[in-house]
Symmetry: C2
Subunit: 241 residues, 2 copies
């Protein structure tokens, strides 16, 4: 499985993904699940993926291919699309086409070949927007009522987000919130694993302000994780029943 979370705030967008991929329990690999595309000052797009690796890799490869060879396809690439809404539509269409191609190949083997994606970005002159794209290509959008979107193993890390995140959360607090949400997921579910990929996109910069891989032995993350466990245990002790 996977856990990816994206936040759309007034100050910008924060995205975090894990990297664990497994075919069964005894075949575990590390694969990047966050993909970024930027033309600094003009456009920035980040895509996070969950689901069948063959579907997500092929979808991302086709999207990248369309950027490199803009004349080879009928539809514009995500770097040419006129709005972020159109970007989400292109990703959704590509995703559903790839998934049904692969499902056809798998035929009666009833394998589950589907994927879900979070697409976030901003183009110059437009608003920041963040979408959750479903396997069928349709999508929903993050709003001020629901400023975060999750894909994959989303339940373990939801309680902390439900409690601390609003549109006014700062980018620093948002990074802390997604890392703690991931930490809860990592502790409770083996199918989500380090390293992590963290991206920060400040509002109206149309560039990646930060793109960082957090390794398993990262001292800052480790310290934060310990401090959070400690704080939870202390809070637990202090609460009166």
């Amino acid at each position: 499985m996977t856990y990816c979370v994206g936040m759309l705030l007034n100050a910008g967008m924060v995205l975090l993904s894990d990297t664990r991929t497994n075919a069964g329990l005894d075949n575990i690999s590390i694969y990047r699940k966050m993909f970024t595309f930027e033309s600094p000052g003009e456009r920035v797009i980040a895509i996070m993926t969950a689901g069948s690796l063959s579907v997500t890799q092929t979808t991302i490869a086709r999207l990248a291919d369309a950027i490199d060879n803009p004349d080879s396809t009928m539809t514009p690439s995500i770097m040419q699309a006129e709005t972020m809404l159109q970007v989400a539509e292109i990703v959704g269409n590509t995703l559903s086409r790839v998934a049904s191609d692969i499902a056809m190949k798998l035929g009666g083997m009833s394998q589950n070949a589907s994927a879900t994606m979070i697409v976030a970005g901003q183009r110059r002159g437009g608003d920041m927007r963040m979408f959750l794209v479903y396997p069928e290509g349709n999508f929903i959008e993050a709003t001020s009522d629901t400023p975060f979107l999750q894909i994959g193993e989303h339940k373990y890390g939801k309680p902390i987000l439900d409690r601390v995140v609003t549109m006014d959360t700062s980018l620093l607090d948002a990074q802390k919130a997604v890392l703690l949400s991931m930490d809860s997921t990592l502790r409770s579910n083996l199918s989500v694993g380090m390293p992590l990929d963290l991206a920060v996109i400040e509002a109206d910069q149309m560039r990646l302000s930060r793109l960082r891989r957090i390794e398993a032995d990262d001292p800052v993350f480790h310290k934060m994780s310990l401090a959070w466990s400690e704080a939870l245990r202390r809070s637990f002790t202090e609460i009166e029943v």
Copy 2:
């Protein structure tokens, strides 16, 4: 859906269940999911249920019927069974038989008629034991490595349990832990709802030490829930990234 959690500790057992049942999103009802059977000083058994209401109700009805009419069945009732292991087997067999009866009636309608149960108890002369019974009637048991069992919507409330519960946790702390675990689930998932049923079984008493319904407007639970939210937010603020 449902959330039920049971803990097996050195000091005793603590069980908590919600009461929300829904057929679709617009048909929500309150049904008890915790059932207790005791012969004080001799034997105490608590069963919590998750899944299809027709399956769980019929299973519990048959178990209760066998207690009331011990001569009417070939197998002993759960109040006659010689060990808690045998109790788990009786519950498992009854559950799987009821589920397959109902599945047969539903025929090709491909309805999902299955249920999962937590069975906990102690008989005089035996150890406290707690089992998670699967829809097919097989089961697993809580051990010192894994002192809690969950059924239903278990993911939201797992991180807190993973962090604070061991076999040495006191019964008071265990009640706090299951209530906070439930609180996280209630906040993040609409399909789990108040009121709650809480049972405490002290070790070697072979009786229910406490059985309490916690209503939606319960001031103590409400205060604890607020204090926990406040503590989480404060901890969040204090953590350094």
